[in-house]
């Protein structure tokens, strides 16, 4: 049995593998990919030499940029999976065309997430062994890891059946992947939501917010993937799909803004120690105001609103800003959860009383995490070469 008999692949030579049309956008992407990949390698080498000392994480701020980027990647994956299920699981016709592209995107982003987190967790091999030997069912990280493992299995099978045009089984695995993905992803939210020590994160908000923002991330990514695929010159059925997508995205963004407003109001109201202060701190930070609110929500929302969803080219550009905003959402989620010190007394001579904890990622952290995007790009490039990701015209 060969790989090809399991999953249909294109026959391409080594030369074809590395050749692409030298258009401006392709060359830009190629350069960007090489730079990011170099960054990733540099960061990884620094980590292998110095271990966690290569990172700026500390006793008070044990989770840094890499955790944020892991969340970023798995949110992207879940988002793509959810959005693609609108078509081939729930049978909404216009969305059926995104199946393959979205699911391969989901597989690639979660794989990158796993690669990145493997460079953060101190002992990834021990993790695999003791996750099985001595599982702790009350740990959200245990559930998150286990469910994401199952999720990856499901979506790989889903992709295989999609490429084989076997709609019965792709639907089955699609539904499985969707359900397990939702469970895994809300569990990731619970990793933060369960922290009773951190009043700003503790509660029901994050598990729900993770699903909502995943759908938004998935939509942004679809705009980017299709914008790049068709170089802004969309066939009619893609145009129809993306217009619908823009409308859904507009609704999702409105819900997210509504959620955020109430989250902040409840965090500030009553002035609960450790929560209200952090909320004010968040509200005053440019990461939140410019990154999350302006780039992540308001600009894309205005683009959709102004054109009633028909400005697809505008949305592709806005999606770049949107993804930067999503990055800040993840970064702030991790950082702001830890920003309030738990030790409020001075414990050393000549120390100032503890205030908000400072953290800025080191070069190695930036390399591993931002560079990880390069790993994603390479995998996507290869997938696009080996598999037929476009929809089948005769299915329309």
């Amino acid at each position: 049995m060969t790989l090809k008999s399991i999953i249909p692949m294109k026959d391409i030579s080594l030369k074809e593998l590395f050749s692409f049309k030298k258009s401006f956008s392709n060359v830009t992407m190629a350069i960007l990919t090489v730079v990011l990949l170099a960054l990733f390698l540099a960061g990884s080498v620094m980590y292998f030499i110095d271990g966690h000392h290569a990172y700026n994480i500390s006793r008070e701020h044990p989770w840094g940029l890499i955790i944020a980027m892991y969340v970023f990647f798995v949110v992207s994956s879940t988002g793509l999976c959810i959005m693609s299920s609108i078509g081939h699981v729930f049978g909404i016709k216009e969305f059926e065309i995104i199946g393959k592209r979205a699911i391969i995107g989901a597989i690639i982003t979660i794989t990158t997430g796993f690669i990145v987190i493997a460079l953060e967790i101190g002992h990834p091999v021990t993790m695999i062994i003791y996750n099985i030997l001595t599982p702790n069912f009350s740990s959200a990280i245990w559930w998150m890891g286990t469910l994401y493992g199952a999720y990856l299995g499901f979506i790989i099978f889903e992709f295989i059946f999609l490429v084989r045009e076997n709609h019965k089984w792709s639907k089955f695995f699609g539904l499985g992947g969707l359900l397990v993905g939702l469970a895994a992803h809300s569990n990731l939210g619970a990793v933060f939501g369960f922290l009773i020590a951190r009043p700003i994160a503790n509660g029901v908000f994050f598990p729900i917010y993770f699903i909502l923002s995943a759908m938004i991330t998935g939509s942004y990514l679809l705009f980017l993937m299709y914008g790049f695929r068709y170089k802004m010159d969309f066939p009619e059925e893609v145009k129809v799909m993306l217009t619908k997508l823009a409308k859904i995205l507009g609704l999702l963004l409105a819900i997210l803004m509504f959620f955020e407003i109430w989250r902040m109001l409840t965090a500030i109201y009553g002035g609960m120690p450790g929560r209200a202060e952090v909320a004010w701190h968040i509200l005053g930070s440019s990461n939140f105001l410019i990154g999350e609110v302006l780039l992540g929500m308001v600009i894309p929302f205005i683009v959709i609103l102004a054109s009633k969803g028909t400005n697809i080219k505008g949305m592709v550009w806005a999606s770049i800003l949107g993804m930067i905003g999503i990055f800040f959402m993840r970064y702030d989620l991790v950082h702001d959860t830890q920003v309030m010190p738990l030790q409020l007394l001075k414990i050393r001579e000549y120390q100032l009383p503890p205030t908000f904890i400072e953290y800025f990622p080191s070069f190695a952290e930036i390399g591993v995490s931002i560079g990880g995007i390069g790993v994603c790009f390479v995998m996507y490039y290869l997938a696009d070469k080996f598999f037929e990701l476009d929809h089948n015209k005769k299915d329309m």
Binding site: H52, H123, L133, P341, K346
Partner: protein, 187 residues
């Protein structure tokens, strides 16, 4: 099997830091400001000179609170953090994957990364040093010049710690979180 706990008569603390030193010595904790299992916090004097509130300036020795309902144990994916036979919360370095979840989950900032094993470490009531040798004291308690610390078995009604807890008012830190600490501060 015992259920170990500790009482701290913190108002007697003179901030000599003998306990911190003894802990490092006994348990071989690496040097460096972040590598500490126990610490003495200082509350700064309130008020502007000369109207200083001397009573506000006190010292609060602290460490892992040995929670009976420990958030760090609840979140640990591999059960590396566990309750031993003496109800002491401990970390098994063979199972710890250094995911740092316990460090974000502990409400008392009691955990740090031990650079030798690259795993998380914290106070374990000298479980693998003194207690393992059959002693029934901890290094910090043994060394304290003003007898701030009383260590003992909470299940033994005749122990000094049980007696003190019966007869004197005490409180625990962040008790509203429901962690049920086994470190008690005398008022």
């Amino acid at each position: 099997m015992a259920r170990y706990g500790m009482v701290l008569d913190y108002k007697n603390c003179i901030n000599c830091k003998a306990c911190e030193t003894a802990c490092k010595e006994e348990n071989g904790i690496l040097l460096g400001a972040d590598n500490h299992r126990i610490w003495v916090g200082t509350k700064e004097i309130e008020g502007e000179f000369p109207f200083l509130n001397i009573a506000s300036n006190n010292f609060l020795p602290s460490q892992c609170q040995q929670c009976a309902n420990a958030p760090c144990q609840e979140v640990c994916p591999t059960n590396a953090t566990y309750y031993d036979e003496n109800s002491v919360v401990r970390v098994d370095p063979d199972k710890c994957i250094l995911c740092s979840y316990c460090m974000t989950a502990c409400p008392y900032d009691a955990r740090y990364v031990d650079d030798r094993t690259k795993t998380v470490d914290k106070c374990n009531f000298c479980a693998d040093t003194r207690i393992a040798r059959g002693e029934t004291t901890t290094a910090c308690q043994n060394t304290c010049p003003t007898k701030v610390r009383i260590f003992g078995d909470l299940d033994d009604p005749n122990s000094e710690i049980s007696e003190v807890l019966r007869t004197r008012d005490h409180f625990t830190l962040k008790s509203h979180l429901g962690t049920d600490p086994r470190l008690f501060y005398l008022t």
